[in-house]
């Protein structure tokens, strides 16, 4: 038993899994690996990414945390600007999971080109898809946290001792590069079996958004125009059809998180359940509920079409796009008056839920759990691109061009066309983004980047002790009765907002500790 027989005896491979060293041989392996990269968009669990997307709404004037019957620890430190969010679970999970996704993509980008099989076109496409995803992951990080460390390879702990944050500019440059390189290779569209993969115009659209975030207006205008002119997309005729389980991957869609109902696997969108009504026939969790402030914005704008497709309110006697209201209410054990939709105001701060993620009764899947709902998350759609383009044109003083695309969105929403210029137009475009794209994970990033006439970021005028949102909610005369009555989530949200702190989320304390302080915190957080 000495010598080589002994080393054979001590060599027991781990079974049932594949070793990275011997992976990346066949085309199938590369394709499967990329599927794993796409999986990292949300991991199809409620807590990794969806929860953070909802948290971003909760930090705006569009939403409350909402749930007033359970512990609010996942959100409150950030959503109510308490200044102690370094260990906020939703924030920390998101940060960690985005880097897990980035590592998956890094391995794909490094290893797929070295694979032995002979299909260079496929290799190039898969690498481009991985770059698109990595670019998206970095974009989501930089707009939330500012500059973060860029890691573009698979490293061991001793290789990153002393790691520091890159600047926001450097991260944006990485985002731009990834989207550009992806766009050069990716096809404009895929065959039916591959719908959902990143396309050339998804990459260009995201690149345009990245330019807008950086106020690189002319680059944004050019690249967004390319998307508009590609001929691949068109607005849906009805605003109400944009968000529906039956209109996943519709003609307006540029990039969507793909979902599917599978009994055995979790491939769903968690938001319809996590942000759903707790006093429903099918229970929701009521985290992230639309505010009366958002409702008022629709009403003030005379925008009733999008209002009814965006907000459902306690006591409503019908729900847009719900033909089975009676059956829905018959199945509800909580409601005493079955003629009215019931959102228990004692359990829901605003007594409102979001219509975009509401699933009509008969369209609900056989199992109502957070990991099963087949509603694709619209990450980038043409209306968003139109409004980004309009914004860029307005900033470049091409107001006529801006109005063309702004009006396309308005007309679809049954709103009158406008013909404006300069700051007026800018205001209209900004409002339009709020109304069109509510609850689509845009509002927080928009109000953080827009500068108001007083030179402050828009968010600083909404939040803070004198913020419009705060003022309205803390005055009984202007506050919404539901919101005023239910103080289990306090109405003074935003009072403690600090403009030198709350325009960025805190880097997870974990990173500061684990790097021995070489990763530094954003200002104001301690």
């Amino acid at each position: 038993m000495l010598g080589s027989s002994c080393s054979d005896f001590l060599n027991e491979p781990v079974r049932g899994t594949q070793n990275l060293d011997s992976y990346f041989v066949t085309e199938e392996e590369s394709v499967a690996y990329l599927t794993g990269c796409y999986n990292a968009i949300t991991f199809y669990g409620w807590w990794q990414v969806y929860n953070f997307w909802l948290l971003s709404e909760m930090c705006t004037d569009d939403a409350w945390m909402g749930n007033t019957t359970q512990a609010q620890t996942d959100y409150i430190s950030i959503a109510h600007f308490q200044g102690i969010g370094q260990t906020n679970p939703a924030c920390n999970n998101f940060y960690q999971q985005r880097y897990r996704g980035i590592l998956r993509c890094n391995v794909a980008i490094a290893r797929i080109p070295e694979s032995a099989y002979n299909n260079e076109a496929m290799k190039a496409r898969l690498v481009a898809e991985a770059k698109f995803l990595r670019g998206f992951f970095y974009l989501e990080l930089v707009r939330a946290f500012g500059g973060v460390p860029i890691t573009n390879s698979f490293k061991m702990p001793d290789e990153i001792i002393g790691v520091t944050r890159n600047t926001a500019e450097e991260v944006w440059a990485q985002v731009e590069q990834d989207f550009k390189e992806a766009a050069e290779v990716l096809p404009a569209r895929y065959g039916a079996a591959d719908v959902g993969r990143a396309t050339k115009y998804a990459a260009l659209g995201m690149l345009g958004k990245a330019y807008v975030y950086q106020e690189k207006w002319s680059e944004a205008k050019a690249v967004l125009k390319q998307v508009i002119d590609s001929g691949q997309y068109d607005l849906m005729e009805n605003f109400g059809d944009v968000w529906d389980v039956d209109t996943n991957n519709n003609k307006e869609s540029i990039f969507e998180l793909q979902t599917r109902f599978e009994t055995s696997y979790n491939l769903g969108n968690a938001i319809p359940v996590v942000a759903g009504n707790r006093s429903e026939a099918n229970d929701g969790w009521a985290w992230g509920l639309p505010s009366s402030d958002l409702e008022k914005a629709f009403i003030d704008a005379g925008d009733y079409e999008r209002l009814r497709w965006t907000i459902i309110k306690n006591g409503d006697t019908e729900i847009a796009g719900e033909p089975d209201f009676e059956a829905l209410m018959a199945a509800n054990r909580y409601a005493t008056d079955k003629t009215k939709y019931f959102i228990d105001p004692s359990m829901h701060k605003p007594a409102r839920v979001c219509r975009k993620i509401y699933i009509p009764y008969k369209k609900r899947p056989a199992r109502w759990t957070q990991d099963k709902i087949p509603l694709n998350q619209r990450i980038l759609r043409l209306a968003d691109v139109y409004l980004l383009y309009a914004e860029a044109c307005n900033e470049l003083h091409d107001d006529a061009e801006a109005c063309i695309y702004l009006n396309k969105v308005r007309v679809r929403a049954k709103m009158p066309e406008v013909s404006q210029t300069g700051k007026d137009l800018q205001k209209t475009i900004r409002l339009e983004r709020r109304l069109e794209l509510a609850f689509e994970n845009n509002r927080l990033w928009d109000i953080r980047r827009w500068t108001d006439d007083n030179g402050k970021k828009m968010m600083c005028n909404i939040m803070g002790p004198n913020g419009t949102f705060v003022k309205r909610n803390t005055n009984k005369d202007t506050a919404d009765p539901y919101e005023w009555e239910n103080q289990k989530e306090l109405s003074n949200k935003g009072e403690t907002f600090q403009e030198n702190r709350d325009l960025l989320f805190p880097i997870p304390l974990h990173e500061i500790t684990m790097s021995n302080g070489t990763i530094e915190q954003n200002p104001g957080w301690n």
Binding site: T35, Y38, N39, I102, M156, P157, V163, V195, N516
Partner: protein, 1007 residues
């Protein structure tokens, strides 16, 4: 006495030698009571001429006339007789050796006389184990083996937690178990207590180093009973007991309602009390049975001749849970045989099949304590549906699940078949040289089934929309081979034992699992995976580990005064990456038996034994998963594309290719003293254990993107401790008595953990605490202490609230009279994380075991006590059952809660929104002194006199286990919090299964 080991040693030591034809003499060697002494050596003094007594104690030898014969056997005083030619028949009565130190002790890969030991080893004998019946023999070591912290749980078949001499690693504290020379993974719960001859605990590294890679948490050697030559002896015994868990006394419906409403009225709010169909249900009584059964039956027969000895035993043990459902049982058979093929060759064959089964149950201590007592068990009959699982009432006023309904739904069972087989061969080619080769197989198959029905008690909160059925199968097949060559020799005053060995082990396990949902209905015949209609899941894997080792040991002593033992072991393990597979573990120990020095022997007659021991050694820890060095992918990341989905692959583990063993280095200094012919024995040890390159699953910056924490050799921990034990035994007339006291203490310190900041653990997510850590570790500090806010009493009036301020600002702005005052330790005027400090230690300062026995004529009485001193417990029951979250409360809470200046008994005011966070943040308010001293067993026995029963021995006994506990701790069981958790988190009381009080009746019959 360790008969089996004795016989073995006698066999090995005995020699058949040349005989000169002079005088043939013979006779019988017996004990004082006439029992033949088997295997005694009768040797002509000064020669190599000798023989050994047979099973009847007879011997025959031819010697020169006038020769002196030395008659000796281990366990007896030696005798010398002079052969007188006229007499050929000698009746020799050997007196029992009263020197306690001269037992034989099993050490790794051999045995030594206790007096020759140089390291720290404790022995407990089979009688002491069966004397305290339980489902796991380790339970009976509690308080009897010094330096070993054993914590027990009350659930059926629970294995106790065993910590030998403190903690030097975060990777588990469980020692290595070796049964008859074969390593056994997973503890000895499957063994039959009655089969155990002795258990040896190798406590220091100089003893454990011979087990190399797995010795760092100590080693427990179990020796099973062998046959004894002679006519068959039959033993039968049974113990039958009733277990009881004391009622925690929760509030009745009336007090609960008052507490509930007061919480709101105190806050000026309107309560939402639901009084519809209110009743008064005592949930504890409905759910927890007043008594549960435990039973145990043993049968054994042993005997043999000088050629063949055997021991056959059968045992059955069953322990019920304290609930309507749930038990754990085991049925064991063991056949141990030895066959002397020739004088120089012996075969051994042990066979031990086992069958264990269990029924699962819902553990509902907390469930019945928190449930709303105003809720009836069932909903009104007019609401009943066909689904009998749905007819239970939903808790009216809180979120607790109906515990009766929970137990009713519980349906799980498991069964495990196993067998241990070990053939062996012992060859003694020349005098003093023994070759032993042993092969061991331990294999088993186990199945577990579970079913949970569809039900709807409350479709929002207490329901299952589909039934789930699952089955898991697993098989294990572990083999090992041990081959040793031992030489024992003496030259003048030099005594030498040398051993060389080679061992190889392979552990294989195979498992698969299947589950489905939605059986057509909940009826019993449909509770099969195949009947499920959706969500088909299947899993399965195999895993293998191997270990090869070379070992060597030298034991030398000069004149039984100066001792030296040195061992070395080279281990190779499949768990470590190429290049790091092998490691070497040495040890050296020395002893000086100063009582054998002439100046002591001749001058101090009250000192019968005196030995000083010093040992050093290195042992290892290899308890990492097999995949720790590997970077692996799993194909289980799905994504929806087109009209379907693809199954993708993802990094599942990032591995560390530089992993090495964790090494523990250990120094031990010990002193053994015996006084007055060893009536009084004292043993004292001090030790220091330090781990190096501790294997730790280290957290890293998330920027790396790893899916797991990487296993790394970081960190170092240290355990420093002491042990002191004193035993006294004596007999006077019809009285005999013994008393033993064990005292020990150990301090565990983290020299270096992760090297990066604090390591938090003890996360609490129950009661009103939503995810707060209670324990913090940092480099250079004692491990795992409670790190909490300091509660400084209750504000008695507004003036006190106002006085608790800093620069005119209230430190606790939300506080009212009746709320907890929290110390602002850093003086910054706010209460936050920065005001936490180390406030308690879950590890005891002192562990005490006290054992006594007294017998008078046919009566015997014994008692065993165990306690820990100076340990703290985080009592989460105080959080759960004090009115927060609407849970039911301990009876008397209304009065105990503050309700005006100077009122209450330590609880803050009742409040529903708890603005001061009395209950929603952790403070010393929840921490209590966990010191306890518990009577583990009291036993009274009566043995019928031989005059009455002739050849039959009959003993009746009454036992009380855990009859009483001395403690100030207010929770249900001060012992259980130590059982739960790991090195990094222990001492938290979550009302897990407490130890029951058990009253047992036993019968022992032998003939």
């Amino acid at each position: 006495m360790a008969e089996a080991a004795l016989v073995a040693l006698c066999l090995i030591c005995s020699q058949s030698l040349f005989a000169q034809t002079r005088v043939q003499v013979g006779g019988v060697v017996s004990e004082a009571d006439g029992t033949p002494v088997v295997g005694a050596n009768v040797i002509e003094k000064g020669t190599m001429n000798g023989t050994m007594t047979g099973t009847d104690g007879r011997w025959m030898l031819t010697v020169p006339n006038g020769a002196t014969l030395t008659v000796s056997c281990i366990g007896f005083d030696s005798q010398e007789i002079t052969v007188n030619g006229a007499r050929t028949n000698y009746q020799i009565v050997l007196g029992e050796d009263t020197s306690f130190l001269d037992e034989v002790v099993v050490v790794g890969y051999g045995v030594v006389k206790k007096s020759d030991l140089t390291s720290s080893i404790s022995t407990i004998r089979g009688e002491d184990i069966v004397d305290m019946p339980s489902m796991n023999a380790m339970n009976s070591l509690q308080g009897k083996v010094n330096g070993v912290q054993i914590s027990t749980a009350g659930s059926p078949g629970a294995s106790p937690k065993v910590i030998i001499r403190g903690i030097t690693t975060t990777n588990g504290t469980s020692p290595l178990y070796v049964v008859d020379g074969a390593p056994l993974s997973g503890g000895i719960g499957s063994l039959n207590d009655n089969d155990i001859e002795s258990i040896e605990v190798l406590k220091d590294a100089s003893a454990a180093a011979i087990y190399g890679t797995r010795g760092s948490n100590g080693v427990i050697l179990v020796t099973t009973k062998k046959g004894v030559a002679g006519k068959p002896r039959i033993d039968f015994s049974t113990n039958f007991g009733l277990q009881h868990i004391p009622d925690p006394h929760m509030a009745d419906a009336k007090e609960y309602e008052q507490v509930y409403k007061t919480r709101y009225s105190n806050d000026g709010a309107v309560d939402n009390w639901n009084g519809k169909n209110a009743t008064n249900t005592n949930w504890w009584k409905e759910v927890v049975k007043p008594v549960a059964l435990t039973q145990n039956y043993q049968f054994s027969v042993r005997g043999g001749s000088d050629r063949f000895i055997y021991n056959l035993s059968l045992g059955y043990t069953k322990q019920h849970s304290q609930f309507e459902k749930g038990f754990s049982d085991k049925f064991n058979i063991r056949l141990n045989t030895e066959y002397n093929l020739a004088k120089w060759i012996k075969l051994g064959f042990n066979l031990a099949p086992r069958l264990t089964s269990s029924q699962s149950y819902a553990t509902l201590f907390t469930g019945s304590m928190s449930m709303d007592p105003s809720t009836p068990i069932y909903r009104p009959q007019e609401e009943w549906t066909d689904n009998e699982y749905s007819n239970f009432a939903r808790s009216h006023n809180n979120q607790s699940y109906n515990p009766v309904g929970q137990q009713f739904r519980s349906d799980g069972k498991g069964r495990n078949y196993g067998i241990m087989v070990s053939p062996s061969i012992t060859i003694t080619p020349v005098k003093g040289l023994t070759f032993l080769s042993q092969f061991n197989v331990n294999a088993g198959v186990s199945r577990s089934d579970s079913f949970s029905p569809k039900f709807d008690i409350d479709s929002a909160h207490e329901y299952a929309t589909v039934s789930t059925v699952s089955r898991n199968y697993s098989e294990s097949f572990n083999w090992s081979t041990t081959n040793t060559l031992t030489y024992i020799g003496s030259f003048a005053k030099h005594n030498l034992t040398g051993m060389l060995g080679f061992t190889a082990e392979r552990f294989a396990s195979y498992d698969n699992s299947a589950s489905r949902e939605a059986t057509p209905n909940d009826s019993d015949p449909l509770r099969e995976v195949g009947a499920g209609t959706q969500t088909e899941h299947g899993g399965g894997s195999s895993s293998f580990n191997t270990l090869v080792s070379w070992l060597a040991r030298v034991m030398y002593n000069y004149d039984n005064r100066y001792y030296l033992t040195a061992t070395g072991r080279v281990d190779g393990s499949s768990r470590f990456p190429a290049g790091n597979k092998y490691a070497f573990f040495p040890s050296v120990s020395v002893a000086w038996r100063f009582s054998e020095e002439a100046f002591v022997k001749d001058n101090i007659d009250w000192l019968s034994q005196g030995k000083l021991r010093l040992g050093w050694g290195q042992v290892g820890n290899q308890s990492i998963p097999s995949n720790a060095p590997l970077t692996l992918l799993r194909t289980n990341a799905r994504y929806a594309f087109g009209d379907g989905f693809l199954v993708g692959s993802q990094l599942s583990t990032v591995g560390n290719t530089n992993l090495r063993w964790e090494t523990v280095e250990d120094y031990n200094l010990g002193l053994d003293l015996g006084f007055f012919r060893n009536k009084l024995n004292v043993t004292a040890d001090i030790y220091k254990k330090t781990s190096h390159g501790m294997l730790y699953q280290k957290d890293n910056v998330w920027v790396l993107g790893y899916p797991n924490n990487l296993w790394e050799n970081v960190g170092s921990m240290e355990a420093k401790g002491w042990e002191f034990s004193v035993d006294y035994k004596d007999a006077k007339g019809d009285w005999t008595y013994t008393v033993g006291l064990n005292l020990s203490g150990v301090r565990n310190r983290a020299i270096k953990f992760s090297g990066q900041g604090y390591v938090y653990s003890g996360r609490i997510e129950s009661g009103a605490i939503y995810g707060e850590n209670s324990i913090r570790n940092e480099d250079g500090m004692p491990i795992s202490r409670f790190y909490l806010l300091t509660c400084d009493g209750i504000f008695q009036n507004q003036a006190e609230v106002d006085a608790h301020s800093k620069d005119g600002k209230l430190i606790q702005p939300n506080a009212q009279p009746g709320d907890l005052r929290i110390k602002d330790l850093n003086g910054d005027g706010v209460i936050n994380e920065e005001d936490k400090s180390y406030v308690g230690d879950p590890y005891p300062d002192l562990m005490v075991g006290l054992n006594f026995s007294v017998s008078y004529k046919n009566w015997d009485l014994s008692g065993n006590f165990y306690g820990t001193f100076g340990n703290d417990v985080l009592n989460m029951t105080k959080n759960w059952y004090s009115g927060i979250n609407g849970s039911n409360v301990f009876a008397g809470t209304l009065e105990k809660a503050w309700h005006g200046q100077g009122t209450g008994a330590g609880l803050p005011r009742l409040s529903y929104n708890d603005k001061n966070q009395n209950y929603s943040r952790l403070s010393t308010f929840f921490m209590e002194d966990g010191t306890y001293f518990r009577c583990k067993q009291l036993q009274l026995g009566y043995t019928f006199p031989r005059s009455l029963m002739k050849d039959v021995r009959l003993r009746l006994s009454l036992r009380a286990q855990n009859p009483f506990t001395l403690t100030k701790y207010s929770g249900m069981d001060p012992e259980r919090p130590q059982y739960d958790g790991s090195a990094l988190q222990t001492g938290i009381d979550n009302v897990a299964y407490p130890s029951p009080r058990t009253f047992m009746f036993g019968i022992n019959l032998s003939f």
